[in-house]
Symmetry: C2
């Protein structure tokens, strides 16, 4: 079956192709009767306009580009889930691009621009400030609207959606502190920018205000690596509580601590900063700051549609609410 074109529809409805185009794009500009005729022909032929031709002619592809570092990470894939649900709803197609440490950032951006996306959702949270500037400059030069989706960078002029990671971590650190703990540790990755940087800042601020020294463990998301780190850590330190940037890291710590003879939460309390499925499958269940990733994705996409359509946006830097989910790895906080 050859694809039906606008000519086929025009022929069937006995009008010109311009009229067919109008009923699809500006229905109010065409006489109701002819409109019905055309609609009928469209339906009968199962016609859908060729998105590529439409894109070239109108210079709008109704496509957004998503730039991720690693789609297989739980938080990333949930963000993308939120994005595509909303994109589908607003009839946008979604193109996926990956940009990791090894990628030539400039090359990736050239690709994205060449693909003629109408807007960009930037999810990569692992760029250093210089790389980030390069990327944003590229986007600005190409004049493509962009929303930073759970990818915090200080630049407030760029629209963004996230939660206030610094405040969230500050709050939960304070809760631990005001329950009487002093030896509160913080486990993060070696990557120092964006989200993990914010979380760390919140932790450090709370510790500093309490007159305590920050205890930072830089480790990996890889269980075989962080198991070694945590084993060592427990050997050399007295730990009353640990907050981890990722749930999987928190769970791994719990496992190591329990194996080493500690009781969670009796000897050590543990908090995760994501609230993924790991939290409910771990034993004990992990207390978490809940980060609404699906919503962040959905709201980002919604914001991007507004920007692309030049609708009024009241708030460019959206911070979604978060909450603390108390489970079994803490006992003194609420």
């Amino acid at each position: 079956m050859a694809n039906t074109t606008i000519y086929d529809v025009a022929g069937a409805a006995k009008v010109s192709l311009a009229t067919v185009s109008r009923v699809m794009n500006n229905p109010e500009k065409v006489n109701p009767e002819t409109r019905e005729k055309v609609l009928k022909a469209i339906k009968e032929l199962g016609y859908r306009p060729n998105a590529i031709a439409k894109g070239l002619a109108s210079r709008k592809t109704t496509t957004v580009g998503i730039i991720v570092s690693d789609i297989s990470r739980a938080a990333t894939s949930q963000l993308v889930g939120g994005i595509i649900d909303i994109a589908q709803k607003y009839d946008y197609a979604v193109k996926l691009f990956s940009m990791d440490e090894e990628s030539d950032k400039k090359e990736v951006m050239r690709r994205v621009v060449a693909e003629q996306v109408d807007g960009i959702l930037f999810l990569n949270d692992e760029l250093n400030p210089e790389e980030m500037e390069l990327v944003l400059n590229h986007i600005q030069d190409a004049q493509i609207p962009v929303v930073l989706c759970n990818a915090c960078y200080e630049e407030k002029s760029i629209p963004s959606v996230a939660i206030d990671y610094e405040q969230a971590t500050y709050d939960v650190t304070n809760k631990l502190l005001s329950s009487g703990k002093k030896k509160v540790f913080f486990a993060t990755t070696t990557h120092r920018y964006a989200i993990n940087g914010r979380k760390l800042a919140g932790y450090e601020k709370a510790m500093k205000e309490a007159g305590l020294e920050a205890n930072i463990v830089r480790t990996s998301g890889d269980v075989s690596i962080n198991t070694l780190h945590f084993t060592e850590l427990l050997k050399n330190n007295e730990i009353e509580a640990l907050i981890a940037v990722r749930d999987s890291i928190a769970v791994s710590f719990i496992n190591v601590a329990i194996s080493a003879g500690y009781k969670v939460p009796d000897n050590i309390e543990v908090v995760g900063l994501q609230n993924t499925k790991y939290a409910i499958l771990s034993r004990p269940n992990l207390t978490c700051v809940d980060c609404p990733v699906y919503d962040i994705g959905a709201v980002s996409m919604r914001l991007l549609t507004k920007i692309m359509k030049n609708e009024e946006v009241t708030e460019n830097n959206i911070l979604l609410p978060y909450r603390l989910v108390l489970r079994k790895t803490t006992k003194d906080i609420k």
Copy 2:
């Protein structure tokens, strides 16, 4: 900055736009000297051809469509990870479409076709046979190459990549059986098609050959739901071993069993059929059949490129090797 077009390059290199097009698509057809001139201009201007215009003119978009049901599931996002790595390598762009239970399947397929993808990677594993036929017919009518990526359907004429789930499950069931266990249970979802159907078939075959009755638990991936099911199950049955279609279900079962006073693996052995990160974060570590999802994605994409380019393919239905990863939830098998 207005985007540079092929005209700009032609102007800078003092050749016609046809020549520029040729150096990009058929470089061997142009004189080395002029080729160099053009290449230089391209580089200086940072030119990349407008993918949309190219797509319209050549009727090839170098874009593949991925159809998923739920991107946020661990297995799915890893498949997609494998796909985009290979796609990027072969210079294909990737468009993401979601098709879940509520979707109008025909409408989604129309979208995909309208987007003019050159090929389709179909990852949705949750369609019943009728829906599947509708989808495949639509694809066939549009004459778009397709590869079923970890989405098993009996139809052998459609290219596919997966592992032999039936054989894998049959093998591991037999191992449990030949270690002396008789009360081997099988936990799956309510969804009866494709992969989970194959796994079930392998389990049933092994049980039948051993002259034993199959014990099938249909539950949900939702922990709060399957916890209830498993609590009930343990109350009413004597269970020596349990195999679960998803790791998260296996881990949830382990948690329930331990809470109920059983010892894993001493009283009950447990096996997962995926080998995700849940397996190494659970306590005890979960023994798994390892399903190489990243590879399945990568190989699918590679196979699709061959089909799209009309290269010779020797095997249309690829089954990747799998292996059993022994950990701490089993003790008598090897």
